[in-house]
Amino acid sequence: MWINTNRVAKYFHHHEGHKSSRDGNAHASGGSVAISKSRGREIKVVRKVLDANDMMARQNRKLFTAKKVFVLNVMSSPGSGKTMTLEKTLARIMPEIRCAVIVGDICTTHDADRLAQSGAPVVQVNTDEFGGDCHLAAHVIEKAVTNIDLEDIDLLIVENIGNLVCPAEFDIGEDARVVVLSVTEGEDKPVKYPLMFRECDAALLNKIDLLPYLDYDKAAAVEYIHQIQPEMPVYEISAKTEAGFSPWIQWLEDQVGQKRNTP
């Protein structure tokens, strides 16, 4: 509600100055004086806005490489079945692959509690720090990792915040990114959120056990994914029944193995 009010104020701010609904704020009144049409002295900056995040991500990546830990960043919209997919995945790959999980959630420790039942160490992170609750940033991972003994694990899974927009923009130092899409969502999600699908290395199409009850056009969904990322493997799975899990698990094990065997 307050956002709407302020948004209106923003649009009228320069033109109407004092008439804006944020008139009560002292600094709003200074606006018309300070904004000058003349160009001031220009100073070249040429820096990435996310420099600080990218730097921290590189640092994380260096640490993970030194410890030979494969880091998987799992992203999706809310409700796609990320947590159950990970629960079932952990049950299949542990203890041969030693795992730890970082879970990002805006509220509650429900997901962390569920994942902890696998026996893997789980770190729940607070997402308030970067001015938004929408993604995990590299420095959040850096901090969370201090609670995990990297010597003791082969695979670190990061369950990102349920969101198909922001997490795609933030490198956290991961080796691979997986996006989970479920058949209860629109087939065209990939083209609606192209950056996410462009930035991922594999896609899990979840809840295929529900296909008989839906009008979902699975072929269209896969086609949309390949329109955005033509070379992306798509694994059709059901986290509930574990149908289709073998190829996905194989892919994951291969990735972890490669990292473990790097000289």
Partner: protein
Amino acid sequence: MHEMGIAMQIIEIATASIPGDMKNSRVQRVNLKVGKLAAIVPDSLHFCFEIASQDTPLADAELVIEEIPVVASCNDCSFQWTINDPVFVCQKCKSGSIQLISGRELDIESIELAEEEQKDVDKHK
């Protein structure tokens, strides 16, 4: 959704870019390049920047966003084109092996400092 965090980063970088001998200067404009594939909504960024810049040298500064098109190049036939629809397949040879040349930018190009007399106006407040 994360525009507030982005706005705060812009303010931090811009503030650090003010030369040492001009530390009291006010920034009147920030020139930004944002790729069309960056997960940024310009309107939201303007809004967050306006709030986050208050009580900083960037207060009331104008945020100028230059949107950069998504340009791809085919790894197989070297064809280059601008992507307007979400189709990341070579328009010429249909190869899926392509790379993006632009469109992912989120860069601060430059800042513009207010002239001296404006600094006085500013102090006067």
